[in-house]
């Protein structure tokens, strides 16, 4: 049966609490994983492992959080994501709204896109497809 976004949020919050050692009330849809919840690089993998177990799905590496993008000189120049990099980001992360980020695509702002809402939207899409299959 298809899960509601609220049900998904509950599961995501539990994963984040366990992976990042934060309290439940710190986690809201708008929370940034890095700025608000203190996630570091390995935490993203930890979060993925826990989401996979909680939701019984396989999340291909790089599907939820992009990998190796910032090491490609075609995608990053002078501390900004290039147009080619943005295209690649949108291709990889079709579940993310880049409108705000595009206004000033600084690499240092990239972590802002990784929010709890982004994970919930991704899982909603993913679990809906699974439920319909």
């Amino acid at each position: 049966m298809e899960k509601t976004k609220d049900q998904i949020f509950q599961g995501v919050r539990e994963c984040l609490v366990n992976a990042l050692g934060v309290s439940e009330n710190q986690v809201s849809l708008d929370s940034s994983l890095v700025k608000d919840l203190g996630a570091e690089s390995i935490d993203f993998l930890d979060v993925v492992f826990r989401l996979e177990k909680t939701f019984g799905i396989k999340i291909p590496r790089g599907d939820l959080f992009p990998e190796n993008l910032l090491t490609n000189p075609a995608f990053v120049k002078d501390g900004k994501i290039t147009p080619a990099g943005l295209t690649e980001l949108k291709r990889k992360l079709s579940h993310v709204d880049f409108t705000q980020f595009e206004e000033n695509p600084l690499v240092s702002r990239l972590s802002d896109i990784f929010t709890v809402k982004m994970i919930v939207d991704y899982l909603f899409e993913k679990t809906s497809v699974k439920a319909k299959a």
């Binding site: 366990n18 570091e40 390995i42 935490d43 993998l45 930890d46 492992f49 826990r50 177990k53």
Partner: protein
């Protein structure tokens, strides 16, 4: 060699590894056998691998089970990722978790570098470094998920001081030291510690190959003797225990002072 009668609880009657599940690669002889016995004595559930020594491995299992230890042995080719994964899967299927990994399995194929062929280089690097990589990779996800784990890699004093005729082996152990530090940095925040133990000369069968030189070698060791395998096993048991939770990324020499390079 530790006898069955020596299978006893260590410090202060406390079993340091009670309730822990440990995987030890290459546990059928030498230092590996001592680690298996030490871990069993410390209360751990032990799964150890062997490559060719099935008979010896099964004998150890029978012996330790007779003492109420929970011990399993599994065949494993540590250069083969499927074979390694199989060990991890079977351990988790049976015991539900992996708390400790000891990357002990290793080989030597000694020879002067000028005559060392590519296969001798590749074999040693692929087994010693590749095996350490494959086992660590296979347990990492579980340990990160548990938010706790211990990985202990087997290095050697030669990674610090070099050794004639062992360019491949020395390179493999140097790589293991560097790998230990890198992995420790990555996993520290997840409660997983990664350390390496670098023994000097240990009284094992492997060292029998250079028995003729033993007299000369002993003179180079400030402590004046080879290590007993049990001494190395004790250090590893300590690093695997909760007592060592704040030690990570270290290469700990246990060499009787050999690396001091002073003569007696």
């Amino acid at each position: 060699m530790q006898s069955v009668a020596d299978l006893k609880v260590s410090t202060n009657g406390r079993k340091r590894l009670d309730g822990k599940v440990a995987i030890i690669s290459g546990g059928s002889r030498g230092i590996g056998d001592a680690i298996v016995r030490k871990f069993a004595a410390e209360g751990a559930t032990v799964v150890f691998t062997y490559n060719k020594n099935k008979e010896s491995a099964e004998k150890t299992v029978k012996e330790l089970r007779g003492l109420n230890a929970q011990v399993e042995c599994l065949p494993c080719s540590i250069q083969d990722s499927k074979s390694v994964q199989d060990v991890i899967d079977k351990t988790i299927e049976k015991f539900g978790r992996v708390d400790i990994l000891v990357n002990n399995a290793g080989i030597i194929r000694d020879g002067l570098f000028l005559t060392m062929d590519e296969s001798a280089w590749k074999d040693v690097i692929d087994t010693n470094v590749g095996g350490t990589f494959l086992f660590s990779k296979a347990v990492c996800e579980h340990m990160v998920f548990q938010k706790k784990g211990r990985i202990i890699n087997m290095s050697s004093v030669v990674s610090k001081i070099g050794s004639v005729g062992q360019a491949n082996y020395v390179a493999s152990k140097g790589a293991i030291n560097a790998f230990t530090k890198a992995l420790a940095a990555e996993l520290a925040s997840k409660g997983v510690t990664v350390n390496a133990v670098a023994p000097g000369l240990v009284a094992t069968e492997m060292i029998e190959n250079v028995k003729g030189l033993a007299g000369d070698l002993t003179k180079r060791i400030p402590c004046g003797r080879f290590a007993d395998p049990e001494e190395v096993a004790s250090l590893i048991a300590f690093l695997a225990s909760d007592d060592a939770g704040y030690i990570t990324g270290q290469v700990i020499l246990i060499d009787g002072g050999l690396s001091l390079q002073s003569r007696r």
